[in-house]
């Protein structure tokens, strides 16, 4: 069954903490190919991670 955007957001989050199982990766890939909202969220969660890794340095150049 096709996962909902809500379930996909859960997988997108878990992917940042553990390696997804092959079936989870497949479900994710199919949904992302068809859903603009979730494809956006995917990139945005990655940006959030990047921003957090740079947060401690962010005030040094101020």
């Amino acid at each position: 069954m096709m996962p909902t955007c809500r379930q996909v957001s859960d997988l997108l989050s878990e992917r940042l903490d553990r390696r997804l199982r092959p079936m989870e990766r497949l479900r994710l890939r199919i949904h992302l190919a068809m859903c603009k909202a979730c494809a956006r969220v995917e990139g945005q969660l990655e940006l959030l991670r990047k921003a957090m890794s740079e947060l401690p340095k962010s005030r040094r150049d101020s």
Partner: protein, 194 residues
């Protein structure tokens, strides 16, 4: 992850490398600059005193984070500032639900973020991020910061906080989705207008 360092190698310069991370974590948890600096100072003193106790089983940052969590708990116990914690944790359960409709689609369509790389070069973006972090419940913020700021693994977070792995994933999912929505509202919605 930083490679394990033996006790003999831990000195002030090694500790200083982790200082910005410890300080940011403490600031976001305690919300007071003076208190955060005091607590981090305590962590360094304890670390120097206890360097022999560091067996190299974890990274230095994980070890320092563990000490920091204890020092923050001590500080809170002294200041008795945990009175409103329970009330805020009640809100946790609802907040991911609020982002989705009953059929599992987004209540409000996630927008395209313009110039995301540019945001990373803008100090005000990081200020917006900090405001968003302050909007999380203290427990959610702690778990999220342990993962994304201090770089602990899920297993390490479970060990440090006593939260189960499943619960940890639920908290991280909730925190990430709320921060995403908050950044969109606070930063990217405004940035798109200009």
């Amino acid at each position: 992850m930083t490679p394990a360092v033996t006790a003999a190698k831990i000195d002030l310069s090694e500790l200083d490398r982790h200082r910005p991370y410890l300080l940011k974590f403490a600031m976001l948890q305690l919300r007071q600059k003076d208190a955060a600096e005091d607590v981090v100072q305590d962590v360094f003193l304890a670390a120097l005193k206890g360097a022999q106790g560091f067996a190299g089983r974890s990274s230095v940052r994980t070890w320092l984070t563990s000490i920091l969590l204890n020092k923050i708990a001590d500080y809170r116990a002294r200041a008795q500032r945990e009175t409103s914690l329970d009330a805020r944790q009640e809100q946790d359960a609802e907040s991911v639900d609020a982002l989705f409709q009953a059929n599992g689609t987004y209540v409000s369509m996630p927008q395209e973020w313009r110039n995301p790389e540019e945001a990373l070069g803008d100090r005000r973006f990081f200020e917006a991020l900090e405001r968003c972090l302050e909007g999380l419940s203290p427990r959610d913020a702690r778990t999220f910061l342990l993962r994304e700021l201090m770089g602990l693994s899920i297993d390490e977070i479970c060990k440090e906080t006593g939260v189960s792995a499943t619960n940890c994933s639920v908290i991280l999912h909730r925190a990430r989705m709320r921060l995403r929505a908050c950044l969109e509202a606070r930063w990217f919605a405004g940035a798109a207008e200009t």
